[in-house]
């Protein structure tokens, strides 16, 4: 358990990273600042190429920031070479040593730290057990499956008990069941060991279920940092809302704004007031976002009018696709009850009711 739960493990200050020079210059990170707390399960979430791996490589010390500073427990780590940083990495491509066995791979870090033989053996055995690889301990790593390699990579990085563990999509090659098991196992490990986890994933569901906090990244920038709940329910930008979960977007112009709220005039002529993610000036273009499960379908008039176009049954719930009077598509998700239909039919005229706290106004 952490002694001071809110102390920063890693502070990233105005970090930029530029690859190449001249015309084929790539800005992989653009003025990124974020604090990662001790014993936190921190997730970097974002589409391919947004700079997640680059950020991990800067923390691990394989690359250096073009600008900015990274502090580990309050100290600038720029002068530390990677092998002096109390940070271990589970690489996106595993990077297991092909000329060593599974057990030798896991023992490598401990050997380099000069730990006594018995301790190394005990830790290797414990790690093998943890990732369920006891049977394959003497296999060469080139002779095991992708998922098994991933588990060895995890065990190898955990074995030296680093202060910070960087995990670059460590579960992507596992099948669904093993993946769920490893998610729970990772979360448990993180809680027990007090190691700060920085976890990279494409998978928004994985990010939401595992993280203490999530940073959503896009094109080298961090758009928002917050708890899964904040990210999902109070996205700061349209990109964040779009990337995480399913969302309905309706565009409109701001009629009035203030006190963290804004009133939006939609294309169809309807007016809706909702909380605002940022400050708006009247007449500015803005987007209204409504999660499908936060809207309700009603018989007769709601906040928006439309026609049911499609009903899709998912078992746990039903998605009802509504063509709004303004022409946009709008999805409403209803929880299913046993032996009852959704109560609507295709072609039916309906109203969409958006509760006071169900929507949010976002910058475009």
């Amino acid at each position: 358990m952490p002694e001071k739960p809110d102390r920063s493990a890693i502070e990233i200050r105005n970090v930029s990273k530029i690859f190449g020079s001249g015309d084929d210059q790539v800005k992989a990170l653009d003025n990124v600042s974020v604090d990662i707390r001790e014993n936190e399960f921190f997730t970097l979430l974002g589409p391919s190429g947004c700079g997640k791996t680059t950020l991990l490589r800067l923390i691990a010390g394989f690359d250096f920031p073009t600008e900015g500073e990274i502090r580990l427990h309050g100290e600038d780590i720029a002068p530390l070479p990677p092998f002096k940083r109390p940070v271990n990495t589970v690489f996106q491509n595993y990077a297991l040593f092909p000329h060593m066995t599974v057990a030798q791979n896991i023992a490598f870090g401990l050997e380099m730290l000069g730990r006594p033989k018995q301790e190394i053996e005990a830790r290797v055995a414990a790690m093998l057990k943890l990732v369920k690889m006891e049977q394959l301990r003497n296999r060469k790593t080139s002779q095991i499956s992708g998922g098994q390699q991933q588990r060895v990579a995890l065990a190898r990085a955990l074995a030296p008990q680093p202060k910070v563990l960087l995990l670059d999509e460590p579960l992507s090659a596992l099948d669904y069941k093993l993946r769920k098991e490893m998610q729970i196992e990772l979360k448990r490990l993180q809680g027990e060991t007090g190691i700060t986890f920085i976890f990279v994933t494409h998978d928004q569901e994985e990010a939401l279920t595992m993280s203490d906090r999530i940073a959503v990244m896009s094109a080298g920038r961090i758009l928002q940092v917050g708890s899964p709940w904040e990210i999902y329910d109070h996205p700061a930008e349209r990109f964040v809302a779009d990337f995480i979960g399913e969302t309905n977007f309706l565009t409109g112009t701001v009629k009035e704004a203030g006190n963290g709220r804004a009133r939006l005039l939609l294309g169809s002529g309807a007016e809706i007031a909702a909380s605002a993610a940022s400050d708006f000036k009247p007449n500015a273009e803005a987007t209204l976002m409504v999660r499908p499960e936060h809207a309700k379908l009603v018989k007769g008039k709601g906040d928006l009018g439309g026609t049911v176009q499609n009903i899709v049954y998912f078992g746990t719930d039903t998605h009802i696709h509504v063509r709004l009077d303004g022409g946009e598509m709008f999805i409403v998700r209803q929880q299913n009850a046993r032996s009852a239909g959704c109560g609507f039919e295709e072609g039916e005229k309906v109203g969409v009711s958006i509760g006071d706290d169900a929507a949010q106004v976002l910058r475009d």
């Binding site: 691990a60 092998f83 940070v87 990495t89 690489f91 990077a95 000329h99 060593m100 870090g109 380099m112």
Partner: protein
């Protein structure tokens, strides 16, 4: 069931026959260009020398005795041929030293090239192979120009006042070794580079990540993984060094003979072709033995270490 397996058997037999036919040209070339000449050498080594070179077609083990022993001119007793043994020993020792020195210099060179951006690698490789485009004799005389008493190195050192009289480098084992390292350097660098180019440098990063210092990464990760290149390069340098002829002749003068010169002597002034043939086969056997020991050791060491 049985008919199916018969068909499979027949197909396999046909397959084997086909493979033999396909490899026939290669076998013929190997036979004519390699086995046949070796047989001639072997046969010659069991004949008597003619007085003006050539051989007399009469069986005699004398040449083989002569490899290791010398017969006293007066009483005909045998004693160990010290001169031959010391030449064997010098050849092996010089070739080993050449191989080690070429490896020590070639490893960082190959690593340097392999870590350059892809565009510039070709240029570096080209520079490494340039000496290959020049005649061996000319290259060797160039070295002579550098290390002889009035040469570049001595001249420079004397001008700087580091030494007052020239250092004798020509006609020493040192000169032969320097010459051979220079001549065979590309043969070390190229296979090393080939295996380093395939090296996954992310594994090097993984090593650093797991607290390995630069030296440990070199020792535990890079060297085991480029071992095939180290083996190939060492073999490619060791073998021609052992049989080198021009370099020891020019840089070692007449006094510092190596196996190649000894063999040449028998076919030239010595007029003892059978002895030359026996020495050639001895050289072949030494090379084979060295290869076998080295490859065995290297692969065992890898398995043990890894």
């Amino acid at each position: 069931m049985s008919s199916a397996s018969e068909v499979a058997d027949a197909a396999e037999r046909k397959d084997v026959r086909g493979r033999w036919l396909l490899s026939l040209p290669a076998l013929l070339i190997i036979g004519i260009a390699s086995v046949f000449p070796l047989l001639i050498v072997l046969v010659y080594s069991f004949l008597k020398p003619g007085s003006y070179g050539d051989v007399v077609w009469q069986f005699s083990p004398d040449a083989w005795v002569g490899v290791l022993f010398q017969r006293d001119i007066f009483d005909g007793t045998l004693s160990i041929a010290d001169a031959h043994l010391s030449i064997f020993w010098r050849s092996v020792r010089l070739s080993l030293m050449t191989t080690v020195l070429a490896l020590i210099l070639g490893f960082p060179t190959a690593y340097f090239i392999a870590t350059r951006p892809e565009r510039t690698r070709a240029i570096w490789l080209f520079l490494i192979t340039i000496p290959f485009w020049t005649n061996l004799l000319i290259r060797t005389f160039a070295i002579q120009e550098v290390i002889r008493n009035e040469g570049v190195v001595n001249g420079l050192l004397m001008k700087l006042g580091v030494i007052s009289s020239p250092i004798q480098m020509m006609f020493t084992d040192f000169a032969i070794m320097i010459g051979m390292v220079y001549v065979y350097f590309p043969l070390m660098v190229l296979p090393l580079y080939a295996s380093m180019e395939k090296l996954d440098f992310r594994l090097v990063e993984a090593g650093y990540d797991l607290y390995a210092t630069r030296l440990k990464v070199l020792w535990r990760i890079i060297i085991p993984m480029v071992k095939p290149g180290i083996i190939a390069g060492s073999i490619l340098v060791f073998i021609p060094s052992l049989g080198a002829y021009v370099t020891p002749r020019v840089l070692g003068g007449g006094r510092n003979l190596m196996l190649g010169n000894l063999i040449e002597l028998q076919f030239g002034q010595g007029r003892n072709w059978p002895l030359g043939a026996a020495l050639s086969i001895t050289l072949l056997v030494i090379v084979m033995a060295a290869l076998l020991i080295y490859v065995r050791k290297a692969s065992n060491g890898g398995a043990h270490h890894g």
